[in-house]
Homo-oligomer: 261 residues x 3
Amino acid sequence: MALRATLKNKSILSGVAVMHMQNPPVNSLSLGFLTEFCIAVEKLEMDKSCRGLIITSSQPKVFSAGLDIMDMYGKNLEHYKAFWKAVQEMWLKLYTSNMVTIAAINGSSPAGGCLMSLTCDYRIMADNPRYSIGFNETQFSIGVPVWCKEAMTTIVGHRNTELTLQLGLLYNPSDALKIGLVDQLVPEDQVLATATQTMAKWLAIPDHARRIAKSMMRKPTIDKLMSIREADMQQYISFISKDSTQKMLGTYLEMLKKKKG
Amino acid sequence: MALRATLKNKSILSGVAVMHMQNPPVNSLSLGFLTEFCIAVEKLEMDKSCRGLIITSSQPKVFSAGLDIMDMYGKNLEHYKAFWKAVQEMWLKLYTSNMVTIAAINGSSPAGGCLMSLTCDYRIMADNPRYSIGFNETQFSIGVPVWCKEAMTTIVGHRNTELTLQLGLLYNPSDALKIGLVDQLVPEDQVLATATQTMAKWLAIPDHARRIAKSMMRKPTIDKLMSIREADMQQYISFISKDSTQKMLGTYLEMLKKKKG
Amino acid sequence: MALRATLKNKSILSGVAVMHMQNPPVNSLSLGFLTEFCIAVEKLEMDKSCRGLIITSSQPKVFSAGLDIMDMYGKNLEHYKAFWKAVQEMWLKLYTSNMVTIAAINGSSPAGGCLMSLTCDYRIMADNPRYSIGFNETQFSIGVPVWCKEAMTTIVGHRNTELTLQLGLLYNPSDALKIGLVDQLVPEDQVLATATQTMAKWLAIPDHARRIAKSMMRKPTIDKLMSIREADMQQYISFISKDSTQKMLGTYLEMLKKKKG
């Protein structure tokens, strides 16, 4: 597992970091990966010369497959707590970022992958009908955290969010564009180039005023989630440590093994 | 007046109840009908084998014409109070239902009829341009209860709701679909069959996780309405018992009589 | 500077006032103009015979260019306070109006001009691609007040508002219609006539019930803004009296002068 987070000042665009997620095979958001990711974002945040962040994948066909089930299965309470704290941290760090954040979604992005991209200011997706994005947790009997609900509602509205979360829907790129879950579709080989061009437009806006506007729009959601952060943690731990949840995850993991084998 | 609420486990779909509303001529939501309706829903809710509820009409051309004006005119305070309590109960029972609820809207559905269908998880309407759905109360000088506003805003957004409630708009099926007031249009004779097929898709989702998602999406609205339930009751009684309101309803009822005669 | 606010009972429509804004060259919302405007609206509000208000421009090509920068530059704290109080007043008076309010947008309407039109019940814009509407403050390093955010969110939703405010976007009429920022486009010479016809439709709705619906939809926003009114004032004064803000405005004004000269 490795995360390349490099500030490519020359090759891409001055003041813009491109975070290539590289956690084979499918960029699962494990405790280790999320920890590394948050530290990298925090460093960029404190680097005054860094004004924009593009998040993309180094793995083929997938942006991120979402939270790593291995961190949710057969571990102790301390582990579950550390993992969920990392999930909350990732959401908060990205959602409150002073940088312009763009998701260059060059592959499928279900569940936690969708959550990560929803925290960004703009979403560009590869126009490949085999890719999908959305929240499919419900299909696997897994509860969707409130962080997904809040971020998604502000972007695609209450009704689309309710349908997605109740039914565990994944959207192909064209349908995702239609409901506003992504902002733009481009051919697969142009995702990063388009993200870079888009970033240039966003950086032409004075930072200070843009940040005030971003903060004004997001503060109510942030305040709400901060106020229930501890309750959300308790709810997660209670859900994940239940016998029935663990049994269900065990069955799911065995199904995955058979599929591969 | 009769309400058929039968759990048709074999003829329709296992675990699905189809509520055929039958209160001739136009399925007015009277105190008697609402009381019977709520008891039926409550029974289904407690029946563990019942996972889905389809609401439709046995009357031709109309799903429900809305609240029964006879329960709002020339009665005493106790009656008004009992009636409004039944309206609130209907909304709460359906909006908080653990079952998958689908409105099979096989006819016009103004005012209270629209309110009832908005509480459901999904709305399928007969594609007949002579049918309409929406909130036309304002056109008849009647205030729209806050229950309509809250449910409608979460489904079609604030702007469409404001236009509808200020102007008392009814939409034909095609316009209703365009703003998202209904989810799907089908030929009139396929409304119930499509509702059944749709229900099968929803029931393929694990109940427990789906209910968590539904509750997460609806809890803020439910909490808000529960907290103003008593105030809403006082407001209704004060409005309906006013001389000017009663006079206006009297004029309206006489107009209806002349129209029929 | 002059504001013509005349109740044209015969020439236009009975009970409808048409406010022709006339503050050459671009209907800047100066302290003087806003004060006169608010007094005029208040008079109409208290006139029981006045049920509707159409706001339009007497200046060519512009509805209103927004807040007058001269009231934000090189003045003392008292002046800044009086100016911002007038801005808040304008928003509140229009947003809470009992009258049906229609913006007949016969020219460009950036920033404060957009804010004014968003308080209205309905927006009709001249279909001239050279005109634009939106909030471009961020492009000029100026913070957008919370009044813009709240009004815009209820009309075009959270996502469109976030993009607009972060990027300082102006929309041509066709794009403005697409996101719902205006309700209708008509040829330039028919803006006022269409506003009058639309007003007739709105006035066919009983006043009392329409006002209840309007108030029910807007009360949460009004309550929220009233509760932060003083904080918003402090924030504005702190921002506008900063050396960096004043310097930036000075540069901007010199740029404007050179452009003209």
